[in-house]
């Protein structure tokens, strides 16, 4: 177990140093999400939001921005991993280090988890600081259930890491899986309820949204932070989150195995 943890940590450090080699990257990590949020903010601002507020059970105008901010922060956790997973698999192939990993007796899941953790926390911490500041600004509209909020935030982190593992294994499966980048990127933003209230989306959009773990995470985060909903009332959503996480881990493991088997059979680990 300790060896596995050390391996995960070694990958976290290596990937972090590979991607965050220049301090200007941190500026970009901060600016782009903030611009994204400002974009959403001003998309809603010109309209009379009274109807929307009533539909999602809120009272004040400020609440809608807190509602959007929570969705947007959670979305950034997942969104950032799509890009970094693709970059990471490309770097592994291009630098020839994927061959060295396959040649070693190391646990491959350790590598995937380490990559995912490094990408996630390296990419979102600047935005988290901004978001905490914004949430503090809108604190009057918070209606937090502390216990379920803590549980929901932990769930957000774990599910985002698992999402990263899933994407990393997908990109390892085939070097031509770059098209999945588009398939995952837009729906993550559009159909998970990050920018629009999920329950008021059309049925077909909901059907797509239900496939993404982010959808459930946004629901539990908003309910625990804004509607004072306790763990017992969120049990169903939590169970779904855990189930989806478990399924994603199993699928990731199988894809990772299939990717390695295919590379060892055809000698494709060095192709990029």
């Amino acid at each position: 177990m300790m060896n596995f943890v050390r391996l995960v940590w070694a990958n976290v450090i290596a990937q972090h140093k590979n991607y965050f080699f220049n301090k200007s990257i941190y500026l970009s990590l901060f600016i782009w999400p903030v611009i994204g949020f400002i974009n959403i903010y001003y998309s809603y601002k010109p309209f009379n939001n009274t109807v929307l507020l009533r539909k999602i059970g809120l009272q004040h105008d400020g609440e809608i921005y807190l509602y959007l901010l929570i969705g947007f922060v959670a979305m950034r956790f997942f969104y950032t991993l799509i890009q970094s997973a693709w970059q990471s698999s490309y770097l592994l192939r291009m630098s020839g280090t994927l061959e060295l990993i396959y040649m070693s007796p190391s646990n491959r899941m350790g590598m995937l988890i380490g990559n995912s953790i490094a990408s996630l926390f390296g990419s979102v911490w600047m935005f988290i600081i901004f978001s905490v500041g914004m949430i503090a600004f809108y604190r009057d509209f918070l209606n937090v259930n502390i216990l379920s909020a803590i549980f929901s935030i932990i769930l957000l982190c774990i599910l985002a890491v698992i999402w990263g593992v899933f994407l990393n294994s997908l990109f390892l499966l085939s070097r031509d899986s770059g098209f999945l980048f588009t398939i995952f990127q837009e729906p993550t933003e559009m159909f998970t309820g990050a920018k629009l209230p999920f329950m008021h989306m059309p049925m077909w959009a909901k059907a797509i949204g239900y496939l993404f773990p982010l959808t459930y995470v946004i629901i539990v985060l908003r309910k625990s932070l804004m509607y004072n909903t306790g763990i017992s009332n969120l049990l169903q959503e939590y169970v779904i989150c855990i189930l989806i996480g478990a399924i994603l881990m199993i699928v990731s493991y199988l894809m990772m195995r299939a990717g390695e088997k295919n590379a060892i059979k055809n000698g494709t680990a060095t192709l990029f």
Binding site: N3, R6, L7, W9, A10, N11, I13, A14, K17, N18, F21, M94, S95, G96, T97, E99, L100, I101, Y102, M103, S104, P105, S106, I264, K265, N266, G267, A269
Partner: protein, 264 residues
């Protein structure tokens, strides 16, 4: 000792015939190869481009699955003991890949050491020892992207020795290095064999390197073993007066090419 018996590798490639149709092509890269690699000596695997050298090295290092044949490491079948064998081998290739350029020399070795379950004091000591060995101790905290080609190659060697492997595969390890560094590398490999009893398989296009390092060589062409023997015995096959290994290799490749044309 590594015993290789009847090793074959056939690659399947797809050739596009219009938008919907693809044809499968079969390329026999290694054909019924049998070789031995002993500890305490450097064995050479020679041949012109496309002879099957790198494919063989990859199969021996568990990076490629053979289509047929057996690879036995110190009495252990590679198929049944893959994990144990993976911890006993490593590969050093020429060129500037297989290391992370944005990491320092020390960080690279730490990362690759962790792949073999090494950690703590032992890993740090091993890193210091290897960096000292390859002459990079005072450059250990510099990102690899700032290294010269020779320094990168030396780091590759340290990386290839991080798990203290019993067998090392050298795939054109002095590719692109100047004569001074290449000479240093050769001396280093000889020391590894003599002092640490490593078993080394060397593939290279530099015949001088083979003459200087290898005790026994195998010559491949189009995946098949053409001949084997000591460097002296093979050199004697040369038809020229001041015969050398290069002449023999060229002569053999030419003969095979003529035979193939006659068959066609």
């Amino acid at each position: 000792m590594i015993e290789v018996r009847g090793l074959c590798k056939t690659y399947v490639t797809k050739e596009s015939k219009g938008f919907f149709k693809t044809n499968k092509n079969y390329l026999k890269a290694v054909d019924n190869l049998s070789i031995n690699i002993k500890k305490g000596e450097i064995t050479g695997l020679l041949g012109i481009n496309g002879a099957g050298k790198t494919t063989t090295v990859k199969m021996l290092s568990t990076l490629l699955e053979p289509t047929r044949g057996d690879i036995i490491y110190d009495g252990m079948d590679i198929k049944k003991n893959e994990k144990i064998i993976k911890s006993k081998v490593n590969m050093i290739a020429g060129g500037e890949r297989m290391i992370y350029w944005r990491l320092t020399a020390k960080e690279n070795l730490k990362y690759f050491g962790s792949m073999y379950g090494l950690h703590g004091k032992y890993l740090n000591e091993r890193i210091d020892y290897l960096l000292e060995l390859v002459g990079l101790q005072d450059k250990k905290n510099i990102p690899v992207e700032k290294f010269s080609k020779g320094m990168k190659q030396r780091l590759q060697i340290a990386r290839g020795l991080i798990n203290d492997p019993d067998y090392i595969f050298l795939d054109e390890p002095t590719l692109g290095l100047d004569i001074q560094i290449a000479k240093e590398m050769r001396e280093f490999f000889l020391e590894l064999v003599k002092k640490q009893d490593k078993g080394i398989l060397l593939t290279t296009h530099y015949m001088k390197e083979v003459e200087e390092l290898c005790r026994y060589i195998y010559i491949l062409n189009e995946g098949k073993l053409l001949t084997e023997g000591s460097v002296e015995d093979i050199t004697k096959m040369s038809t020229t007066e001041d015969g050398n290994l290069e002449d023999v290799l060229l002569m053999m490749a030419k003969e095979v090419s003529i035979e193939n044309k006659e068959v066609i």
